[in-house]
Assembly symmetry: C2
DNA sequence: TATATATGTTAGCATCGGCTAACTTTTGAG
DNA sequence: CTCAAAAGTTAGCCGATGCTAACATATATA
């Protein structure tokens, strides 16, 4: 709909452009969902390595709230994607590419949490909301968040 | 891990509580993903009814950026869930329950967009980011967003 | 009104990310 | 050093949400 045949070519009106922009928005969200698993895993693996020296499936499963077989399957996907390295029955480590992604995710997570806290949100809620929001924040928005956090800190 | 047997009962340490809270956060995100399709559809259906008087699969597909068979399938899920009513080959309408959900989603969407705009984000980016963020914003955070928007408006 | 085009549905396929049950390997307590 | 418990894997299942190809229905133009 909203398409007419004029002189044999397609014509667009204002609501057509709107529809296209909207579709791109939804496509962006679907894309974000595709990277979400990888992002949460590498971020968590980096945290566990920092805390415990290594990331083991049992700990990943506990912190994600999923069962061990789910972790095994997803880790093999991450290995396939070149983000983690590991040998069977051994702990999981990040490849250089995985480390880079983990760093970016941790930064984003930190900024989103700090931003929500600066709005007066309680820690529990800030962490919960950030865990989902982080995957849908563009670099533009992230920088705006960062600016707010910085200003809030300067004011004490 | 991080569980010891003491006097025959389980003992928790600080990192255990942390792990549990983290798992709840991820569980919350997984739950949000379960309602996401329904939320985006009813919101869009409400918009189309407002603009065009009815919501047809072809328009829903165009605006979501998916193919018509995907819409057919998802609409039948929404019907199953009691959110929409429709007869074969006819336009789609919202049940009272669907209208209520749509209203809540539109409010949330509006607030998130207005909030991002008030931060100086451009419209295109605000809409894109909001489309994903909206599903992960608790009522607590939404109210904080609303307060910021209101204050920004008062200052002109 | 006849029929061509646009719209909608069905069937069948794929991937993702959950799960349980059953099995294997590693670890560590005695 | 042995062997039971803990950890990890595999196989097989499921539902959600995309897709294409083929078919059915509705609509609008000639
Ligand atoms: Mn996350
Ligand atoms: Mn995170
Ligand atoms: Mn959305
Ligand atoms: Mn929306």
């Amino acid at each position: 709909m909203t398409k007419l045949q004029i002189h044999g070519r397609e014509a667009s009106d204002a609501s057509d452009r709107d529809a296209k922009a909207q579709a791109e928005g939804f496509a962006t969200v679907r894309q974000a969902h595709e990277s979400e698993m990888a992002e949460d895993y590498v971020e968590l693996i980096a945290e566990l390595i920092e805390i415990q020296g290594e990331a083991r499936p049992v700990d990943i499963a506990e912190r994600l709230g999923v069962k061990p077989p789910t972790v095994t399957k997803n880790i093999s996907r991450l290995k396939e994607a070149g983000l983690v390295s590991r040998e069977r029955y051994r702990a999981i480590f990040l490849t250089p590419e995985g480390q880079k992604l983990a760093e970016a995710c941790r930064r984003r997570h930190r900024i989103v949490v700090a931003f929500l806290l600066s709005l007066g949100i309680d820690e529990e809620t800030a962490e919960r909301d950030a865990e989902g929001i982080e995957h849908h924040v563009s670099e533009t928005t992230l920088e705006a968040f960062e600016a707010v956090v910085t200003r809030a800190h300067e004011k004490h």
